[in-house]
Symmetry: C2
Subunit: 446 residues, 2 copies
């Protein structure tokens, strides 16, 4: 029987295993996972802190035992140390037994994910945490319980940082937010994100901008501006780095930033070696350009593609990504898709910006939605979009994703026949109006 080895058992790896087993009962599948747990909902971790996921165990989608029922072998606390793609074998370390062994594969699926970044001042600080996996969640909650902590310092203004702030506030804790600059949540345009700091202050967060922690002594953190803050717990959410050091010399090509290069079949540069998840470089769907998108949708889709490539129908391909993403921050919903801000500058484009109520304007409780699209001057394609509001943002970004995917242009937005009734939209929806505005602007380029 063919031997498939999967490196990493969180969302991407576990899903690939399940898909592969569903398609092909006659194949051996083994997952090596460095950590304690597999197949947990890592996007849900912050919401267990805040209480919106009240049952922590619901975050666990599968265990080694449930995987065994599907004849999938799971080895946790097993770290893959190196890959030999010529010889089709791995060096694996059993971290509990402290021993190394070789494992041979016919197909290898790499889903190593990312390693959370931290800052030098937090190394060896016992009350400093990250929130990357279930072990981290359990550690944070144990620390809160054991030390009766009611105050937390959050660093990092990306999506994990913001979700941590929201959820610690919801938990009733005093939150201090420390950030190196004034720029919060880089995926969003600064002028659209001007509510972030305002909202933090409204929620009682102690906001310290343009500074960072330089030293932690006991429960006190000293900042680069000389201030000191109470820090009985510090949680850093400052991004991840691809966990791909073990691929040095493997024959699997990495890009300059260390992400694993993949193609439309999920295959890497090495035969029979596939990769998915947060550690891969893939490509945009709507423009000819590489990208890395550390989000769950792409991992799940790629799991299906790879499972089919290996065990089923090799016509199933990965279409690339728009990087559609959304984050909730208290009452706000913030979503973007497409090229990043620094990337879109390289393309001739014009901007269409529109603000409109989410419901019929005469309805009490209707609230504004702001949509900005970056339109290719050349052909009217939507290169990038950002949507901000407090209701219905997810609807508009998903619609844009579906529209762009099938070749819909910005002008063409006028033709999307949305469901209209006063509680849901205007007869001419936010996106229809963006289309009409684009038509007027395009006239200048014709």
């Amino acid at each position: 029987m063919k031997q498939v080895i999967i490196v990493g058992g969180v969302a991407g790896g576990a899903t690939a295993a399940a898909q592969l087993r569903r398609i092909n009962p006659d194949i051996n599948i083994t997952i090596y996972e460095k950590g304690r747990d597999i197949s947990f909902g890592n996007c849900g971790l912050p919401y267990n802190i805040g209480g919106e996921v009240s049952d922590r165990d619901k975050l666990v989608a599968a265990t080694p035992a449930t995987m065994a029922e599907r004849d999938i072998v799971v080895k946790t606390h097993h770290e893959v140390r190196s890959v030999d793609s010529e010889g089709r074998k791995l060096l694996v370390k059993d971290l509990e037994e402290d021993r190394e062994f070789e494992a041979a594969y016919d197909y290898l699926i790499l889903s190593p994910g990312g390693a959370p970044r931290t800052i030098p001042a937090l190394l060896d600080v016992p009350q400093a945490f990250v929130l990357h996996n279930l072990e981290d969640l359990d550690d944070i909650k144990a620390h809160i319980a054991e030390h009766d902590v009611n105050k937390v310092v959050v660093i990092g203004a990306g999506y994990i940082g913001l979700e941590l702030i929201e959820n610690f506030v919801r938990r009733g804790m005093d939150v201090t937010f420390i950030h190196r600059s004034e720029e919060v949540y880089r995926p969003l345009e600064d002028d659209l994100g001007n509510f972030f700091i305002e909202e933090m202050e409204r929620q009682g967060v102690d906001v310290r901008l343009n500074t960072e922690i330089v030293e932690v002594d006991g429960n006190v953190a000293t900042l680069s501006n000389g201030e000191q803050v109470d820090a009985p717990m510090i949680v850093a959410g400052i991004g991840i780095l691809p966990r791909t050091e073990f691929l040095g010399g493997s024959g699997v090509a990495l890009n300059d930033a260390g992400f694993i290069c993949t193609d439309e079949t999920g295959c890497t540069s090495a035969d029979c070696v596939y990769a998915l998840g947060d550690a891969i470089e893939t490509f945009y769907q709507h423009v000819d350009r590489k990208t890395t998108v550390a989000l769950a949708w792409g991992a799940h889709r790629m799991a299906y593609v790879i499972a089919n490539q290996i065990g089923g129908d090799d016509d199933v391909k990965f279409e690339g990504l728009l990087g559609t993403n959304i984050i909730r921050f208290f009452d706000y919903d913030i979503a973007t898709l497409g090229l990043q801000q620094n990337e879109v500058r390289e393309y001739d484009h014009f901007i269409v910006d529109h603000k409109q109520k989410n419901k019929a304007g005469y309805m009490d409780g209707s609230v504004p939605i702001r949509v900005r699209i970056y339109v290719s001057t050349e052909d009217g394609r939507i290169l990038r979009a950002a949507v901000v509001g407090t209701e219905g943002v997810d609807k508009r970004i998903d619609l844009l994703a579906a529209h762009i995917r099938l070749g819909g242009t910005a002008e063409d937005l006028v033709n999307i026949e949305v469901a209209y009734s006063p509680p849901y939209s205007s007869p001419k929806s936010v996106l229809n109006m963006l289309g009409y505005k684009t038509i007027e602007k395009m006239k200048k380029f014709k």
Copy 2:
């Protein structure tokens, strides 16, 4: 200067006038409206009764005075009695002055709308109303105020009937619902709509099914089953008929049901005569078939098309409709699109049905969404869709509309890259899962 006459000044007619003026300053535009008001948000009328549109005047988008500022002549209480499309003239009756006159046009735009249906037993009943325009709304509210009415009988189980029930309950009135059958809200499959009656009863509505009013004597209505109900006010929401009698002998073709036949330019069978709104027959976007859709989105889109055809760019075309629609009924959202149930039976199809939480399943407060699609066995096209739930239904139906419009098949739903974060979706969204289910089902047909 060219003379454009518009028959009917509610949403469709008023919007066409405004669009035309925007495009072409050098044209005479006259609107003849039979009623008292123009350009009001008729979809919002029920919500003023319930209080969600607290400011009744916000329902009025434009008045004859504001139209005059844009050099658009509005004649209210003017009924167009007949059309001579050969001679390009109309016979108009000034209802206030009780005199008739002829008016000549270069272009004619017909937006007569529908006339609300009623039942014989309600003719000449002083406390019987419909809710079709602003005058009706004012009359209903005046009747409630003058007679201190706290009880209302609603007949009709279409969208107006349901919105009336919801809004009278919200107003705090006792509501009796009388309906000829047990089928509520025909656009939706019976087995998906089994919550309607349950919800009415939960809301304290007195539900009388399989019966109808046969006589009203004073404030008492007698039903066909012999029961009597207190009826100090009765409001009927039992549909509309196209108001097209005046087109007899006009040279403008009507279909068998009296709707005005139109093409992709909005033109009727008569030269220079266009039509839009609730009284037209148009065509489906996704299958080759005629349809009538008395909804606002199409009217607004057609207004733009006709304005461009007459005064601007005659490349602007109407794409046809999916009939995307949605209604709120208390906590429920109910949406459908595409062929109607009786129509879809004529096409070889199979059904894919899926129920999934609106958010990540582990989130407290996540609620199920049910989606049913009717997939063409021949080519995987989605012929019809229905979505029911209490959160996020509008998002899913709009996404389906955008997807189908650009040729996306049911299998292809797997590729829509939705914005995922636990408060908004699962990584594999409801629609992605429908796609995966379809792929499995399609295998049987290949």
